[in-house]
């Protein structure tokens, strides 16, 4: 998944020499603001920037954030943002022109949407005189295909949690782990009750 596919253009722009007092309500409401000077992109201002600097003007509070290219992999960008403690990054096209911004919460939501898609359980119940080896191979193959995505999502979420994200990201990652674990549990229960539980 390209990070460019997640870019948001629904953003509030302010000029660089605006006072922080004038925009603090908007920052709290939106999470971040885009600083532009006569249409030219200057930077992204977050609530964290304002709290940590204490200056009066928007331009003085703004801390530089790394530019992300639109064709970069979303999950890789997500890991980088979490490790650097960034909640939002500016995204640029191949000519380094600003095209929009992406928040960690947007990337997480998209990852969750993908991993939450329920996998259909296709189980071929081998009956009758088929050989034991065929049954075993079939079972092993289905189990592999139907559990691998969830397991990878869980491992990926655990990996991201290690990067010490904020409370909101932690919550989303925990939800991802829980939902994938439940899918696995349901799958295993279905297999067991449908084909092996004689009671």
């Amino acid at each position: 998944m390209r990070i460019g596919d997640l870019v948001s253009n629904d953003e509030v722009c302010v000029s660089p020499f605006t006072s922080v007092d004038a925009v603090e309500g908007k920052i709290l409401e939106r999470g971040y603001l885009v600083i532009k000077d006569q249409g030219k992109f200057i930077g992204i201002l977050t609530a964290d920037d304002v709290l940590s600097s204490g200056h009066n003007l928007v331009i003085d509070c703004c801390r530089k954030k790394p530019l992300v290219k639109a064709d970069e992999d979303a999950e890789r960008v997500m890991r980088r943002m979490l490790s650097e403690g960034l909640q939002v990054v500016p995204v640029v096209d191949e000519e380094a022109a600003y095209i929009g911004s992406v928040q960690t919460s947007q990337i997480l939501r998209r990852i969750l949407e993908i991993t939450k898609r329920a996998d259909e359980v296709k189980w071929v119940n081998v009956v009758g005189d088929a050989s034991f080896e065929n049954t075993k191979n079939s079972f092993s193959s289905e189990l592999f295909h139907n559990t691998r995505n969830q397991l990878q999502a869980i491992l990926s979420a655990v990996d991201m949690l290690r990067a010490a994200p904020g409370a909101f990201e932690t919550q989303l990652l925990l939800e991802s782990i829980e939902s994938n674990a439940r899918m696995l549990d349901e799958l295993i229960t279905t297999i067991h009750s449908s084909h092996f539980d004689s009671n």
Partner: protein, 122 residues
């Protein structure tokens, strides 16, 4: 009914000032209300192209965000030397929330200037 008596006393003092109020160097604390870009912009409006903003590495000096230096000083001595002097003699006294004005008077001393005396024919 008695009238209330009111009087006042005013002390006056006036003097000529120059703007901007800094001629040489300004040291900006990391938490000072006025940040580097804003101050530089205000200086630019009064005296265009005279001052320059130099950011200070946070790892080196956590309390200092930047210095604004008159370019005329940089014409007399290298930036590295200016910053070394400030690091040793000024930065240790600056708090996070302060903005400090520094008078940085540079005198260039040249010794042993030699040359050849050319006698003009009369």
């Amino acid at each position: 009914m008695e009238k209330t008596q009111r009087s006042y006393l005013v002390n006056l003092k006036f003097e000529v000032i120059t703007l901007p109020p800094v001629s040489d160097i300004l040291v900006l604390g990391r938490k000072s209300p006025q940040g580097g870009q804003g101050i530089l912009r205000s200086f630019e409006l009064i005296l265009p192209d005279v001052f320059e903003l130099i950011q200070i590495d946070e790892d080196e000096f956590p309390d200092i965000e930047a210095v604004i230096v008159n370019k005329a000083i940089e014409a007399k001595m290298p930036r590295r030397e200016i910053l070394d002097i400030l690091r040793k003699n000024v930065f240790p006294y600056v708090s996070k929330g302060e903005t400090i004005k520094v008078d940085f008077d540079v005198q260039i001393i040249l010794k042993h200037i030699t040359g050849e005396i050319v006698h003009e024919d009369r």
